[in-house]
């Protein structure tokens, strides 16, 4: 019965993706204006490949988050739309329930009529779907690959936006490493991470076709729509993954390559199947999300330092408020789709974990200067935003309703970029470290510098 443990969809990825998109806008407009994050309606990610896939988040993957960041978009909005109009949704359900006689789904016109019926019901239920897209969606399409469509299809397959987010986390890891900045290394690491991320996302979508078609957030993915064959998806994944990992291993260092390969494995072979088996997937997914910054750090320094682990830890902790808040609104889809998520099976645990990790972020921010990654101004400057997200986490814990989960989710979207930005501005410069004689942990610094190439 309670075999269902937490499952963690690649929301993190989606979140990352959204985060990324927010990042570009955050400097210009206050985060409150969510419409600012007007992201293309592509599925982000569902959090799936948080690590590699910041692109989507949402995942999916995730792959999806991008959708979430854009309340007006229909796919992402649907969970939240539900929040606002629960009555409408229930009414729609009633409309659908009269079951029409079973028929071959491909008996042409009759099914088309019913689909039109469903379409009108779906319209109320799923809220905003641009009318043009919907009517196109209701037609029969030839399953022939057109070369000019291919880039767009591959972008959606690889959850390009989430990948971009993942690459930016990795760059943050690279930037925070206490070594002089090397451009070629940075570019190679970013490219390698991006390719690995694309590969993992594609495999994830390859595995999840029937489930994606049943969830509102993910039903417009290329494999679901038959725009690309599974064989091509696998070949694309291989042609991204192999060069990506090779690039990391040979062009950067073997440790980064190994981490990249491990992350792909963790995401595709552990997280994706685990999503449907137990709620432990959320924790696995958090690790998947935490690895890219570690990869960035190891790309720069060549070794796994405490700093890398701290950065990974910050991202790991961030995943929980982000994902748990997001999944709170998607409980129906998860329940029907058979995904084991904390928000469905262990709602109390879901909220507790989110709050716990918000507070952990404060703790981790304080540890940063102790490890000589940043100056002591970092915990002080980051305290307001960490306290704010913890406050929202507490509200979510106490109230357990849609509005608090939404607030927490949207906060997490701008919280991470801002935290990383502040961290970067408070970074302890390498030169500074050489001068300071009485900084605590000096021997640690020296040890790090000795390791520098």
């Amino acid at each position: 019965m309670s075999a269902a443990r937490r499952c963690r969809p690649p929301r993190a990825l989606a979140g990352l993706f959204v985060w990324r998109l927010r990042n570009t806008g955050v400097r210009q407009i206050p985060y409150r204006f969510v419409h600012l994050y007007h992201i293309a309606n592509d599925r982000l990610i569902t959090f799936q490949y948080f690590n590699f896939l910041k692109r989507m988040y949402v995942t999916q993957y995730n792959k999806d988050l991008s959708q979430r960041a854009k309340p007006k978009s229909n796919s992402i909005v649907s969970p939240f739309h539900e929040l606002q109009q629960p009555d409408q949704e229930k009414k729609v359900v009633h409309k659908i329930s009269p079951v029409s006689p079973v028929h071959q789904s491909w008996s042409e016109t009759s099914s088309r009529n019913e689909l039109r019926e469903m379409k009108s019901a779906a319209e109320t239920e799923d809220s905003v779907i641009p009318v043009g897209a919907e009517s196109k969606d209701r037609q029969w399409k030839e399953m022939k690959l057109r070369l000019d469509d291919l880039p767009g299809i591959l972008a959606r397959l690889s959850k390009i936006k989430l990948t971009a987010l993942v690459v930016s986390t990795a760059s943050a890891g690279f930037a925070m490493a206490p070594v002089p900045f090397e451009l070629t290394c940075f570019l190679l690491a970013s490219l390698g991470t991006g390719l690995a991320s694309c590969a993992a996302n594609s495999i994830n979508q390859f595995f999840e076709v029937p489930f994606d078609s049943n969830m509102n957030r993910t039903k417009n993915r290329p494999l679901v729509r038959g725009q690309i064959s599974p064989l091509l998806a696998v070949c694309f994944a291989a042609s991204c993954g192999v060069p990506g990992i090779a690039l990391l291993t040979l062009g950067v260092n073997p440790l980064t390559g190994a981490l990249g390969a491990f992350n792909i494995f963790l995401y595709t072979c552990c997280y994706t199947p685990l999503k449907r088996m137990s709620i432990a997937n959320t924790w696995v997914g958090a690790v998947v999300g935490a690895i890219p910054p570690i990869m960035g750090w190891t790309a720069a320094t060549g070794s796994l330092d405490a700093g890398a682990l701290l950065l990974g830890g910050i991202l790991y902790s961030w995943q929980f408020p982000h994902f748990n808040a997001l999944s709170w609104g998607l409980r129906e889809d998860y329940s029907r789709g058979g995904y084991c998520m904390m928000s469905v099976t262990h709602p109390g645990l879901c909220r507790r974990v989110a709050l716990r990790h918000c507070l952990a972020l404060i703790g981790l921010s304080t540890v940063a200067p102790v490890l000589d990654i940043t100056t002591w101004t970092f915990p002080i400057i980051s305290l307001p935003i960490n306290l704010y997200i913890s406050y929202l986490g507490f509200r979510f814990y106490r109230d357990a309703d849609r509005s608090s989960s939404r607030k927490l989710f949207f906060c997490s979207l701008w919280h991470l970029p801002m935290l990383l930005l502040v961290m970067f501005t408070c970074k302890k410069s390498v030169l500074e470290k050489e001068d300071k004689g009485d900084v605590p942990g000096r021997s640690h610094e020296r040890a790090m510098e000795i390791r520098l190439p």
Binding site: M1, S2, A3, A4, E82, L83, P86, D87, E89, K90, K91, V93, H94, I96, S97, V99, S100, V102, S105, W106, S111, E114, L115, E117, M118, D137, R138, Q139, W140, K141, E142, M143, K144, F206, F207, V209, P210, S213, N214, K219, V224, R225, G226, P230, L231, P273, R276, M277, R331, E332, Y334, S335, R336, G338, C340, V344, T345, P347, D401, R402
Partner: protein
Amino acid sequence: PPAHSHSDWIGPPDKHSNLRPVIFYAPPDESALERRLREARQEAQASNQRFWARHNRAFRQEKEEFIYSRLKAKGLEVRDESGQKATLNAEEMADFYKDFLSKNLQKHLQYNRDWYKHNFRITFLMGQVALVRALRWLRRRKKNVEQ
């Protein structure tokens, strides 16, 4: 799809299963391997359709029953004065979602295994067919060049 078409056609999502049906094209010179691929895809499609249509229907039905029983317990009518259907809020529905998920977990585990098997088999067959076609094309080109 038009009768003269030489490719597969994919349709809009099915009302019950949300899956998109595919009409497969069987060329007159279909090889045994290609036929196996097409049959595997048809079988997977049928199996998926059966599972999801039944599952989604069960979900909707059980959801209706749950709402009805909860409303009854609260002493409310199914329809209020204006004739609209009364609904439960998300927190009340959460119990239903949790229950439904745990009840169907075993079913899903079995389905996952079947789906992964279908998926790998189909993709592998696709790979074989693509390889055979590529070799055939190369051989034909070689013949043309020789002539």
